[in-house]
Structures are given as structure tokens and as C-alpha cells.
Amino acid sequence: MNSPATRPGRSVRTVLLAGTIATLLVVLGATAWLSFKGSEEEAQELFDARLATSARVLEAFLARQVEQATITSPIVITLPGPLEAGGHDAPGPLGHYYETKIAFQVWNGNRDLLVRSASAPAAPFAPLTPGFSDQKFEGQPWRVFTLRSGQVWIEVAERDDVRSELAEKLAFAAVVPLIAGTVVLLVLLGLLIGYGLAPLASLAEQIEARQPDAVTPITLARAPAEIAPVLTALNGLLRRVRDALERERRFTADAAHELRTPLAALKVHAQNVARANSPAERQASLDRMLAGLDRTVHLAGQMLAYSRAAAAGEPAHATVQLRPLVAEAVETLQPRIRERALRVDVACEPKNDAIEVRGDPQQLGSLVSNLLDNAVRYAPEGGTIEVALRRAGNEVSLTVTDEGPGIPPELRERVFESYYRMPGSAGSGSGLGLAIVKEVALAHGARLEIGEGPGGKGTRVVVRFRPA
């Protein structure tokens, strides 16, 4: 059998995790960028304000005093030595290393440098125009605020990287919890997916571990709503397989059992032939052996027909004429009908019109021939068998009536069981004829009725076909 291989798709876990990670990365990136931008802007405003304030403080304390002074060389205000070596981030007792990144210059109206901080150059930071400006100095970007107070110009500058460092740190501080949260979220998500998919894994494991003949239903400790329908469908399939297997097993066991008796008979007759004391005895045993062979062949044929009828699913949907099927069955049985001086009356209604049903021609033929065979088998010598085909509206029925001993009401269900033989019907049949009739009728949706003939005599079987 060719099993259609399914191309393995992406795992649910991968899709979920990848999707989540991608979404989180976008969100994180956006958050970091917005946070950085926002912080940078705020820092800019804050620092600018401070820069301006510093300029005003210088103006207040310094500008008025140096305005009129004659200074030949600029006063340089140095920072205490250890400050620079004090590490970058930790504030020392004397100040902070970052003070080196802040510088100022005070100029008079003649563009003479009066005071400057040690970190400031001797040349003007920026052209002496009031307001904020961004300048480049010694390869570093500086933010400069220029203030004019009377004849004095005050320029206060601050290295720009201090500001971006703050903005970066703020943005980073905003993003770090998010990153940590993301990691926790991803781990949790992985665990949840694992938990959610565990029943699926268990299902796969159970199916994988099964022997080919293990057909008990699969049970899961936990069947989520998404898996429950799969499980139900799977167990439904398993049940059907189990039924089919059970039927096969029973059929094989029954067949092996049912063959023992005819084989025993054949063996006894064969040995009787070999042990015969006279030609007459030999001939008698030989005749019986041949009869036994015929019956065994018939039994094998019936077993096959029964197996086919029972295993058949939906029958073929051909249009089958019943009239020729009956004629054929009567023809086949003719030798036995003649031998037992039986009369077979076939009545059709309507008389000259086709009477047809839908189904499998071969199986329906088997149904008709087995019904007739049964009637011939049980009809008394010289008796009459009535076969009636009727169509009323779109309902078609086949009725077979014999004048045999009849079937007691309590056994009327049992005669349709495989290998069931009526008490007193000494082992002539296969015990499968009516079972085949039943299986074929079942497959064709036909109803079977069994009762007695007119006047409570004999047996009457009616097959009512489903309207086509």
C-alpha cells in the first residue's frame, strides 16, 4: 500500500517562538529608539538650561569684576589634580571627573581672553554671537552658550558626549527591564507551548508505540479542545478497524472449525475405501467420498461468498434486473428441482415491466440464489416453491415461500447467523446461505422479513429493497 507521505510543516513551537521574538525585537527596538530620542531631547533642554545658568553665574560673580581690569595674560582656573585621576563615574571628595568636560571663557570687548578654565582653549570656542551653538574642538563636539554682558563675553561649553551618554544610559535603563522581561516571556512561552502540545506528543508516542494489531482506543490524560476531535476521529477509526479485524478473526476461526467436519468425513470415507472388504463396499465409500468432496467445495464457495458479502462496504450502484437473476438461480438449481419433483412458480408484478434495484449484480445474484437454494433444500418432495417479485410505487420486494418444515419463531433470527444450522437439518448445508442473504441485504439497505407461508406452513422470506 502506498501511504501518502506528508511533507513535515513548520513546528507550532517554532512558528510561535519566532513570531514572538520578531514582534518583541521590533517593539524593543522602537522603545529603545524612542526612549533614546526622548531622553536626548530632555537632556539637551536640561543641559542647555544649566549651561545658560552657569554662564549667568559666571556673569554675576566674574564679569563685573573683570570688565574693567587690565589683564595681560588670562587667568586660568585649574581643577584639583586628583580629580582627573579619580575615575570616570564615581564622584570624589573634591568634585567629579566630568568637570573636565565643562569649560568656560570670559572675553572683553577687545576680544582679549580674561579668564578661562583649564579645560578651555585660548582661542574662542565660538564666534562671539549670543546664544547656543554646536562647535567642533579638538575633534570633539561641544555645546556652547555665548552670553554678552556689557563689554564682556562669556562662553560656557560642555562636551556633547556627556549628553548623549546620559541619553544612552536613560534609554538603556528603559530597555533593560524590557529585555529581561522578554527573556522571561520567551522561556515562559516555550514552557507553555510545551505544556499545550504535550498531549499531541503523548498521542504521537502512543501511536508510535502501538503494535499493528493493537486497536484499543487511545486515551489521553488531558485532551485540549483542539486535540479532542482528532482523538475522537482516531478512536472511531480504531473501532472500525477493530470490528473488521474481529470479524476477520472470527471468520477464520469459524472457517477452520467448520472445515474440520467435512474434512473428517472425507478422511473417513477415504480410509473406508482403502479398507473396504469388497468392491461393493469400496464403491459405496467412494460415492460418499465424492459427495463429501462436492459438499466441501460448496462450503468453500459459500465461505468465500460470505466473506465477500460481509467485507464489502458500500455496494456498487449498478441497476440490476431482478427477473433474470431469479431465472438464472432457478436454472442452476434445475437438476435438484427435477430430482425432487419440485415446482417453482415465479410471479412478477407488474407482469411485463422491468423490476430493478440498485446495487452489486454479483452480490444480489448470490442473495437470490441462496434464498432459492434454501427453499429447494427444505421443500418437501413434490412441493411447490413460490417466488414473487413485486414493484409497488418505487418499492421492490422479493418473496420466496416454501412448503418445508418452517422455522419456529424463536429461531427466526438465529437462522441468519453464520454457520447456524437448524436442529434436525442434518448437516446438509453450509450454514452460510441465509447469512450471505443477510449480509447482502444489509449492504444494500434492504429489510429482511422471515415468517411462515400461507396457512402457517413452510417458510417465507421477504426482501424489501430500499426505494431506488
Binding site: H257, E258, R260, T261, P262, L263, A264, A265, L266, K267, V268, H269, Q271, N272, R275, A276, N277, E281, A284, S285, R288, A291, G292, R295, R421, M422, P423, G424, S425, A426, G427, S428
Partner: protein, 227 residues
Amino acid sequence: MRILLVEDDDLLAAGIRDTLERALYAVEWVADGPHALAALQTNTFDLLILDLGLPGLDGIEVLKRLRAGGTGAATPVLILSARDAAPARVLGLDAGADDYLIKPFDVDELLARVRVLQRRQRGAAVNIIEHGPLRLDPQSLTVTIEGRPVVLQRREFMLLARLLQSPGQVLSRTQLEEAIYGWDAGVESNTVDVHIHKLRRKLYPEVIRTVRGVGYIADPPPPSLSA
């Protein structure tokens, strides 16, 4: 030796019947349980060969009812069945069967087992029946008198075998008729007497004694004769 055969398959029954009759047993055949019980109640059989898968009344049930008491409750039973599983055999033997044979079986084995049950009834360990100067071999179907073979007709052999099967027991004419004829064969009222007469002539007169108004008896031989 009269055997009741209970088997629902007519062809197998016919074959077994042929086998047993050719081995000089009288065989009655019924095809189902109720008929078997009826036959056992109204007739005496030396052996019951019983199929288990009978329509109507299962063979095991027939066996249980037979063993429950009444006429023929002690009749030896040989089960002949298609049920080959050990539990089925145990069930049959425990229900009172003396032996169990599985279909399909060997005819020689069937006959051998019948002979075993036959000699067990006599309390003997061998098949051959020795009676004074007489030797009856139920396997080769031969009779000798002091080593000399005697040619007997079937009915004569069957009659002698029946009488020697239970020496010292008076058997009625009806019992002897049943032992040599089936139900269907028409029996002339004096055929048993005719066969007895022939047996006495072919063997020796004292072999069978007439008990007036009752029947016949094969007296246990006196020790002097059995030498």
C-alpha cells in the same frame, strides 16, 4: 456391541457408520441432542460416540444429562469434536467422557479407542477375549478354537462377541437382537435362535446355554476348560 452415534453431519455419520459396521459393530445414528437422549433412555448401548457441536442441544449438555442418572448413565462415551483446544477437551472429559478424539481423525485410531473402551468395560487389559478354548480377536475379527480358526458369519461373530463381552450374564433375545442389528433392519423373530444354533454347531454346544423364557448366557468357563 452396540454403538450410538450422535453426529449432525450426515456424510461424516455415514462414514463412521460404515467404518464401525465393517468392524462388526451395530450402529444407531441420531443427528441431534434430544434424539440422542431419547435413544439413550429407551435403549441400551455399549458405547456412545458423541459430537459436541450439535444443533439444538450441545453435546456437553447431552453428556451431562446422561451422566446425571437414569438409564444408561454408565455408558462409556467417546467424544468426537472439532473443538481441539485443551479447555474444550478438559471440559468434555470432566463432564464424564471416557475419551476425546478430534476431527479430522484416523479411522484406525477411532477403532482402537473403541476397542479400549470395550475391554475396559470387561475389566481387561487386552483386546483379545479368551473363553475356555475360544479366542476372539475384535481387531482382526477372527475366532479360534484351540488355535484352529473358525469361519463365522458377521452376525454370528457379533452375537458371540456380545455374549463373551459379559460372560455369566443372561442376555435377552431383544438385547442380542439389538447387538447385531440396527433399528432399521427387519428382524425375523427367530433369527437369534438360528444364529445361536449355528454358533453351537461351529464351536461346541456348551459355549452358549439357553435360559428358558429369559434368553442366553455364555457361562464362565470352568478352570479345567480354560487350560
